[in-house]
């Protein structure tokens, strides 16, 4: 575990050279070796490629939405607009954000971090990728042939009775993709329980692993509920079952309860892994032990647990019982506490550290700053008084984009840059990384900050036309989206380039601590020659290089 930081590669003679002859990547490039692989690292790459594709598709629809909103009367038809924002939401939520960090970085890193040769069920891992592709493919088929105009929330009775679009196919696609997520979570839970290396006790686990453990609980216990709910929507359309049909005494609001039971915790599926990434990065780039390890670890579990108790804060204006609303609002405030704890602990970790401003760390700064806004604006929406005005407006849109883009995607990009040398064995060009992270930061804020104002002013979401007085802010937002879009193109290109032309990275280019950095880059198929024995606490940066 010891590393001489100044010159990490040379100081570790026992480790293999920078370009190991045998790595998971060198095992062949034919299609078969990829499509039938059971190696968690290769499956991680398969996911990485697929979600990048889905992200590109989702971004395209976002561009359509922002372009339409440049002028008050819209540029495209109402129907095309409705289908675009639905497609954006469905693709980004179900096909990009939910699998993003867990299925790529989590898949790749968890066995490496806990000292295992693979996930507990490699075949199920591959199966989950195939389910994801089949589900994602069906969903895209629905979007491209006729489209879907229900919004990603599928609210009944619109989705069951009135929508003329491809609801059934999309619903079944999302249902299948949901099982991919469940299987990933199941694999993580079992792996973390049963596959840890000797000496890797629960409180020596990297916080990235803790975050994924909490995420996996949500995936396993929440996803099935949305799966059945979406299935009921399809059944109601196909067989005319009356679950949510008010004409037969069914309750459309029941759909919202069942839907949000999953879909609120799903937000934590997106953000928790990102928080895990941030915990790793903060330590590595400030050479400090994490401040309040157990508080961060436990707050992940607390978020996963309390996150299941707050769903009806999406429903305060549906006419739900006032006392029930109060209970849900109170619980919503409670779930804000663990997120606050994490933010404070990350900031405190920097105190008297040795802070290195590399690209991943810049993403950490972005994350903390933006997640803070996202989280704090959540307090307006969890508040019964202000939610009445703000819900279903652009304030909500801005809020969850600050969480999902400012939080989840910043964490994802930070993590991707941090572990890129481990995954590919090569370095990307640092200056490009810095420039693009700044571009993304500026573009993001310009896109979404005006939306807070729009929401407070009262512009409802999902509007393809709007009153004239909202135009200034909408134009600003669309301008920001353009910058953001270009910002995203950069990492895509320079990472792709570095994959072929990048400088060899060596096993531990950042001088970071963790079992994954003791393996060669890229790691061999078996991960470890010998299963390591863990003897130290996590993030033991203060004692680094003293052995």
């Amino acid at each position: 575990m010891s590393t001489e930081v100044a010159t990490p590669v040379e100081s570790l003679p026992p480790l293999p050279p920078a370009h190991p002859a045998e790595s998971y990547l060198s095992r062949g490039w034919d299609l078969r070796s990829w499509l039938l692989t059971k190696d968690h690292k290769r499956i991680g790459i398969l996911y990485l490629v697929s979600i990048t594709l889905f992200f590109a598709i989702g971004s395209f629809y976002a561009a359509v939405v922002r372009w339409n909103l440049l002028v008050p009367n819209g540029q495209i038809s109402a129907d095309a607009y409705n289908k675009s924002f639905t497609a954006h939401g469905v693709v980004m939520v179900f096909l990009f954000l939910i699998p993003s960090i867990p299925a790529t970085l989590g898949n790749f890193l968890i066995p490496l971090m806990i000292g295992a040769r693979d996930l507990a069920f490699p075949r199920i891992n591959l199966l989950s990728w195939y389910l994801f592709i089949v589900g994602g493919g069906l969903t895209l088929y629905a979007l491209f042939t006729g489209g879907l105009d229900t919004g990603w929330t599928f609210y009944t009775p619109y989705s069951t009775v009135f929508a003329q679009s491809n609801v059934e196919v999309a619903a079944i696609g999302i249902f299948i993709a949901g099982f991919s997520s469940i299987l990933t979570g199941l694999n993580f839970i079992v792996t973390i329980h049963k596959m840890r290396a000797p000496g890797m006790t629960w409180f020596r686990l990297p916080l990235f692993v803790w975050a994924h453990y909490a995420t996996a609980i949500i995936q396993v216990l929440g996803t099935p509920v949305v799966a059945i709910t979406i299935l009921l929507v399809a059944l109601e359309r196909i067989f005319h079952f009356g679950f949510f049909d008010p004409n037969r005494g069914g309750d459309p609001i029941l759909f919202q309860h069942l839907f949000w039971f999953y879909s609120h915790p799903a937000v934590y599926i997106m953000i928790l892994p990102s928080m895990g990434v941030i915990s790793e990065l903060v330590c590595a780039f400030s050479r400090k032990r994490i401040f309040g390890y157990s508080f961060i670890a436990m707050s992940s579990l607390a978020i996963a647990a309390i996150g299941f108790l707050v769903w009806a804060h999406h429903m305060f204006v549906t006419g739900m019982a006032v006392y029930s609303a109060m209970v849900f609002s109170l619980l919503t405030y409670l779930v804000a506490v663990p997120s606050a704890i994490k933010t404070f602990n990350w900031t405190a970790t920097l105190y008297k550290g040795s802070v290195q401003w590399d690209t991943p760390m810049i993403y950490v700064f972005c994350f903390i700053g933006l997640f803070l806004i996202g989280g704090l604006t959540g307090l307006f929406l969890g508040n019964l008084g202000t939610d009445v005005h703000l819900t279903d407006t652009y304030f909500v849109v801005a809020h969850f984009h600050y969480i999902m883009v400012g939080g989840a995607i910043m964490g994802y990009l930070g993590g991707l840059h941090f572990w890129w040398p481990k995954i590919t064995g090569r370095k990307y060009v640092e200056s490009w990384g810095k420039v693009s992270s700044l571009l993304i930061f500026v573009g993001f804020n310009l896109t979404f900050f005006p939306q807070f104002l729009l929401g407070y002013l009262g512009m409802p979401r999902r509007y393809h036309v709007y009153p004239d007085e909202f135009q200034v802010l909408n134009v600003l937002s669309s301008a920001g989206a353009t910058i953001l879009g270009f910002g995203y193109l950069f990492p895509f290109s320079y990472l792709f380039h570095s994959f072929f032309r990048g400088e060899p990275a060596g096993p531990n280019p950042w001088g970071a601590i963790g079992l994954e950095w003791t393996t060669p880059s890229p790691p061999p198929t078996q991960n470890f020659e010998e299963i390591p024995v863990v003897t130290t606490e996590p993030y033991d940066y203060p004692n680094m290089g003293e052995e």
Binding site: H193, K194, M195, R196, A197, P198, T201, I217, L221, G222, V225, G249, D251, I253, L254, H257, L258, F261, F308, L309, W311, A312, M315, G319, M320, A321, V322, Y323, S324, V327, F328
Partner: protein, 110 residues
Amino acid sequence: MQPQTGPPADQPAEHHVVPWTVYVVIFLGLCLLTATTVIVAGFDFGPLNIIVALGIAISKASLVVLYFMHARYSPRLTGVVIAAALAFFVILVFLTWTDYYSRPWPLTTG
């Protein structure tokens, strides 16, 4: 691995081969409870009907989980998984219920 890993690798883990008679007894118990729930359904206990029916069903399910599914002889972690699933199941039904219980909507029956 869990620090308190039990037997060495090569020993059989299954220390508890439950005698088959236990299964037969449990089966008979399940049949008996099925008969009970059918007979009891013939009487009207008012609002208690559902409680009686669910009580018997829960007893039956517990027998299956504990004996047929060996939960009684399994590691504690199995119990934790079952408890977690049950807890979230209860949250789903109960918190949804809080809305319907006091909601002014044609559905409610006081």
